[in-house]
């Protein structure tokens, strides 16, 4: 008996999908569009986050050493600090060359300084994120043998703030878009269930249990929602894949050096999975909620 009921439900779902093909296709299309918009935005947000992270990782702390510093000991100490990713030694000669290079045309200003180089030796320290830079800088400042610490005060704080803002904004927008997608999915399903209100009441009068009536609608909603979400995720995924190829090509020209498209499956797969679940769950939930009022007969 239970087995029969399950079987009837599956058959009715299949039949209904075939018979209401256009209604279902239109609904799945609407769901696809709304999920696609959400997916595209999430990719943008993920990449923007990556970009900010990359920019942050470019922030350097310049540690100028006093002449009597114990270079290698100091280097190990800095290296062992939390959040430090690399420590590079820049000799005073190297520093002078870099300066000359940066002055370009006006490098002759520095002629004659080679013999009496006024620049100090230095470490160039990179941190895992801009967040921790000020703290690290403050700590290093008090190490013995350290003369001065510089890290572009001002700029770093700005980058950190912009990064935080971007995070908040993109979370907010993502939430809004997700809400919009939920609204679109549920309303679509609701419109398509309303068209079949009579069917529900007839079954109820014939003595059908609520679940007997509901199950095919639930399944149908999940299938329509899932189909829409799959279409969206596949479409946006393909477009994104193509984009990463293009970017890789352009990057060789170093035009987009600051953008490394996120391709880590550990980031992208949960995203895709989440969107699929969104489609399926909202499709099903939309069905159940929409049908509820018609069941009260």
């Amino acid at each position: 008996m239970i087995f029969n009921t399950v079987w009837f439900c599956l058959r009715r779902t299949a039949a209904s999908l075939v018979r209401n093909f256009w209604l279902g296709a239109a609904s799945a299309g609407m769901i696809a569009v709304s999920v696609a918009i959400l997916a595209a935005f999430l990719l943008v947000a993920v990449n923007a986050g990556q970009m900010i992270k990359f920019l942050e990782s470019q922030v350097e702390i310049n540690v100028f050493l006093s002449p009597e510093a114990e270079r290698w000991e100091l280097r190990d100490r800095i290296q062992s600090l939390d959040g430090v990713t690399s420590v590079t030694f820049i000799s005073k000669e190297q520093a002078l060359k870099e300066m000359a290079a940066s002055l370009g045309e006006k490098a002759d200003l520095l002629t004659g300084l080679e013999d009496d180089n006024p620049l100090p030796d230095a470490f160039r320290v990179r941190a895992s994120s801009a967040d921790v830079v000020p703290a690290i800088a403050r700590e290093i400042e008090f190490f013995p043998g350290v003369d001065k610490v510089r890290y572009g005060q001002g700029i770093v704080e700005k980058i950190v703030l912009i990064g935080r803002w971007l995070n908040v904004i993109s979370l907010g927008v993502a939430a809004l878009l997700a809400l919009a997608a939920v609204f679109l999915i549920v309303t679509t399903i609701r419109l398509s269930v309303a068209a079949r209100q009579q069917e529900v009441s007839i079954m109820k009068f014939l003595g059908a249990s609520n679940w007997f009536v509901r199950a095919p609608f639930l399944l149908e909603g999940m299938i329509i929602g899932g189909t829409g979400a799959i279409a969206a995720v596949t479409g946006i995924g393909a477009a994104y894949y193509y984009l990463t190829l293009q970017v890789a090509r352009v990057e060789k020209l170093s035009l987009l050096w600051f953008w490394q498209p996120v391709t880590d499956p550990q980031v992208l797969l949960p995203l895709a999975g989440g969107l699929l679940l969104l489609g399926i769950i909202m499709g099903g939930l939309g069905s159940i909620v929409s049908i509820k009022k018609y069941l009260k007969v």
Binding site: N4, T5, W7, R19, I202, M203, L206, G207, A208, V297
Partner: protein, 228 residues
């Protein structure tokens, strides 16, 4: 089997469709419900299977107050009744066969039972060849017969038919009345709202006449009470 006490039904727009009706139908009876258009016959029937709830009074089915049933008990009530709706209420997207099968599916019958019982029922109402048709592909009378097939296929305790022969020619109508009488002889209780005075007069069954929502006549072996 069916017992109504002082039942009154007032629709939300203040129309009093059924007025203080008290009646009792015993197991195995065959009852005609007659009365002019708008007398309240359909409303009375809707009160039985709980499409409408009474404004006042009680309805008892098999000794249970239908107002107090809840959840699965309502299903039990509806499953023991075979219904013919005045407005057919066939699912437009299912074939005649599937519409009849639905009555069995909702009670969890097996596929084998369905394959056996549904064609039988369709044959009994004279639609053996039309099972594959959708309601929109059937004539008015054929749709009405699909409804009847759906009502009898479960072999219910009580058959309640609202105007089951309105779209049928006299021969077909007679055939179906005889079919219902046969069910009745096998123990099924039958309640038919109808305007077919010739059939009512000829069959000499119990007749309950409604007028303006009130029972104005209730006779064993009665007639339509209409002299043409």
């Amino acid at each position: 089997m069916l017992h109504m006490f002082n039942v009154t039904k007032i629709y939300p727009n203040n129309v009093r469709a059924v007025h203080d009706v008290t009646l009792r139908i015993r197991r195995g009876e065959f009852v005609f419900l007659v009365g002019p258009s708008g007398a309240g016959k359909s409303t009375l029937i809707k009160l039985i299977y709980r499409e409408e709830l009474p404004s006042y009074g009680q309805v008892y089915f098999n000794g249970r107050n239908t107002l107090r049933l809840k959840g699965r008990e309502v299903l039990g009530l509806r499953r023991s009744i075979g219904l013919v709706f005045q407005d057919f209420r066939l699912l437009p997207q299912r074939t005649a066969f599937e519409n009849v099968a639905l009555a069995l599916e909702v009670v969890g019958a097996s596929g084998r039972q369905i394959k056996k019982l549904v064609p039988e029922a369709l044959k009994r109402v004279g639609l053996g060849q039309k099972g594959y048709c959708y309601p929109s592909q059937l004539s008015g009378g054929e749709q009405q017969r699909v409804c009847l097939a759906r009502a009898i296929v479960r072999n219910p305790l009580l058959i309640v038919a609202d105007e089951p022969t309105g779209n049928l020619d006299p021969d077909t109508a007679w055939g179906l009345m005889e079919l219902l009488e046969q069910f009745n002889r096998e123990g099924t209780t039958v309640l038919i709202a109808t305007h077919a005075w010739d059939i009512v007069n000829k069959m000499q069954k119990r007749v309950i006449a409604l007028e303006n929502g009130r029972v104005v006549r209730d006779e064993e072996r009665g007639s339509y009470g209409h002299d043409l």
